[in-house]
């Protein structure tokens, strides 16, 4: 049997073309001058195209599976018995050509994920005792120091230990803008270092790298089955043997072998079996190319049905860390003094100020000290500098002018925390600091509201801050000052009212909500927990991808149903045709193979999907 397999693999395609040649020649010749040699042509066509089919049928039978090939083989044998050589040749040739085209188009549809796996790094340059040495990717171990040169791939996940460069992280996050990486920054394996040279310390290797996990997840997602698909699969298992019984019955009752074998050919469940999976493959593959990991099957179908989106605030809609939103300077050099003093602290607010003023040169500070909950003080250039809250300023006898009071009022109404800076008891500057909205948040909410009725925000933060964020983003509403279990209750209430709820969070402190929601979207760099319990994982933090994944999921599900409808329509058409008497084996096979091509091509539309 092994020998036959090799032979078939090698020659079945050329045989198929020769068989087609024979058959076409016979059809043409038959019109001009009928003769015995035409039968010879048909028979050789049937044998050349039919032999591989028969071998496959027998192989499956050995494992107690009734395959489509078996149906075709029986049908062809039947056709020989009633001397329908032309039908036999046409059926076998069409079947082989169909299978050939299917495999070609199938490869194309699966290409999205293939492109991804092809990008997996294969080698790494390890540095031992300052000597670079090229090694296989599987040999890289945690804490190895690796060298990454310009234009080459970053081999595994890890942290930069020296050097700087720009990394193109498109293969992971779907963002094509190169990102500056220097000492201490995290780099993903599978991304490309566009410029510069880096030395990095490996932190995740082998199957644990983000890249490997993404591939494993996508591969499994593509094979996950929705309820409809599971039904079709179990149906198909019994369907094929049932068709053989049916055709035997037809033979017994009508005594017409021609009709009986036609039933065999017509009832092949090809398009039905392939229609839904091919759509999810294309949809999930397309999403993966854009840094969106969609899980397949049930979760895809449920996600597409979402009518309420709930967002976590901190870290999801906002960046999750405070940033200077506005700075007002009343006296020159104030920023420099403030930055100098604040660089002595690692408080989040101090970090916001030093990040904002990173251009200014830091002056050495004497006696820097922190007043807990109020601020900091120290001596800079012989002057007493204070940075802190309003309360701290008034305590230390620094007075506010009318202008400052109105600035302060405006900033706090915008949801900012206020931090003042004073030099020698005179207020010189005012920082409005807040957790800023992600750039993409507004676009995301606006687009989502075109598709679903309700987009709300849940937060543990205070009501004032929540109100400002909700207003600015145009949300349908918000619930603030929530404890984790209150978040869950709100979610459950919505579900009880019959809503399909998708929860969007960063997977850090909202895993319970992610787990309970009908569908969950985790944003971030693919942490393990987030990947485990969510249905959609966005590797980048670009919220616009939520809209894209929602649209893609809907389109994928729609195409799945379209394909099932096309398949059923084809079968119904064939059966009606059979009983009305205008369908014979040859045409039957043509319609059958045609319907398979139609569903594959329909699914390929997903690969062309473009975000408006």
């Amino acid at each position: 049997m092994m020998k036959w397999n090799k032979w078939i693999k090698k020659y079945s395609t050329p045989c198929m073309w020769v068989a087609c040649g024979c058959t076409v020649a016979a059809i043409v010749a038959e019109k001009i001058q009928p003769g015995v040699w035409i039968t010879v042509l048909y028979v050789s066509g049937t044998i050349l195209a039919g032999f591989p089919i028969a071998v496959k049928a027998i192989q499956s039978l050995k494992f107690k599976t009734v395959s489509i090939e078996l149906l075709v083989t029986i049908a062809v044998a039947g056709a020989f018995i009633i001397h329908e050589y032309s039908e036999a040749a046409i059926v076998t040739c069409l079947f082989q050509v169909g299978t050939y085209l299917e495999s070609k188009t199938m490869q194309k549809t699966r290409s999205a994920i293939k492109e991804l796996t092809a990008m997996a790094p294969k080698t790494a340059i390890r540095i031992t005792d300052d000597e670079p040495e090229e090694i296989d990717i599987d040999e890289v171990e945690i804490d190895d120091i690796l060298l990454v040169r310009t234009g080459s791939q970053i081999p595994v996940d890890g942290y930069v230990v020296s050097g700087t460069g720009y990394a193109d992280q498109a293969s992971i996050t779907g963002e094509s803008r190169p990102i500056a990486r220097s000492t201490g920054d995290f780099v993903y394996g599978g991304t490309i270092l566009q410029s510069g040279t880096l030395r990095m310390r490996a932190s995740r290797v082998g199957e644990d790298t983000t890249f490997s996990k993404i591939i494993a997840l996508v591969e499994e997602a593509q094979d996950a089955k929705s309820p409809v698909e599971r039904f079709i699969d179990s149906f198909a298992k019994w369907y094929t043997p049932a068709v053989i019984v049916l055709s035997a019955l037809v033979l017994v009752f009508t005594k017409n072998l021609d009709t009986a074998i036609t039933v065999l050919v017509l009832a092949c469940p090809g398009a039905l079996v392939i229609g839904a999976p091919i759509a999810s493959v294309a949809g999930i593959g397309k999403a993966a190319q854009n840094g969106i990991l969609l899980k397949g099957g049930d979760s895809l179908v449920t996600f597409a049905k979402t009518d309420v989106f709930l967002f976590d605030k901190t870290g999801t809609l906002t960046n999750g860390y405070p940033v200077v939103d506005e700075y007002i300077e009343y006296e020159p050099d104030s920023l420099r003094y403030a930055v100098s003093l604040e660089s002595c602290s690692d408080h989040p607010l101090a970090k916001a100020i030093t990040t904002y003023g990173k251009e200014s040169t830091v002056i050495p500070v004497d006696d820097a000290d922190t007043e807990k909950g109020k601020g900091m003080h120290g001596t800079v250039n012989g002057k007493t500098v204070l940075v802190g809250s309003l309360k701290y300023m008034t305590e230390q006898h620094a007075e506010l002018t009318g202008q400052m009071v109105s600035d302060a009022k405006r900033l706090s109404s915008e949801g900012c925390s206020l931090v003042f800076c004073s030099v020698d008891q005179k207020i010189t500057g005012l920082f409005g600091i807040r957790d800023t909205m992600k750039e993409s948040a507004k676009d995301c909410i606006r687009e989502l509201r075109k598709h679903v009725n309700t987009v709300r925000m849940l937060t543990g933060d205070n009501a004032d801050t929540a109100a400002i964020v909700a207003e600015e983003l145009g949300l349908d509403g918000y619930d603030a000052e929530l404890l984790p279990e209150q978040k869950l209750n709100l979610l459950k209430d919505l579900q009880k009212q019959g809503h399909i709820v998708t929860f969007v969070g960063d997977g850090i402190n909202d895993s319970p909500a992610l787990a309970i929601a009908d569908s969950a979207i985790a944003i971030g760099s693919g942490t393990d927990v987030a990947i485990e319990c969510s249905d959609v994982v966005l590797v980048s933090s670009d919220l616009r991808k939520i809209v894209m994944s929602y649209r893609l999921a809907n389109q994928t599900v729609r195409i799945m149903y379209e394909n099932i409808a096309i398949a059923i329509a084809a079968v119904l058409f064939l059966l009606t045709g059979l009983f009305a008497g205008f369908i014979h084996m040859g045409i039957g096979m043509l319609v059958h193979e045609g319907s398979i091509m139609v569903v594959i091509l329909n699914a390929m539309r997903l690969l062309l999907y473009k975000e408006k």
């Binding site: 078939i8 496959k56 192989q59 494992f63 599976t65 591969e219 094979d223 999976p277």
Partner: protein, 67 residues
């Protein structure tokens, strides 16, 4: 021991089912899943009872190639 075997491009979903059933029935195999779209077989087997070569034979015996 868990291993992933890369198969030739699987065309019909039935092929995946066929390989999966055959692998599951093979001696020494605890569990097997065939990912149809990725054309990969994930096998969990007892290396004292069977070997990767034996598993390859099961697959090639069905008429499928291993990459």
């Amino acid at each position: 021991m868990k291993k992933t075997i890369q198969l030739e491009e699987l065309v019909c979903p039935m092929c995946a089912t066929k390989i999966e059933t055959a692998l599951k029935k093979a001696p020494g195999v605890n569990d097997a899943t065939v990912l149809y779209n990725a054309s990969k077989a994930k096998v969990d087997y007892d290396e004292t009872k069977t070997s990767l070569e034996d598993l390859y034979k099961v697959i090639t015996g069905l008429g499928y190639e291993i990459k």
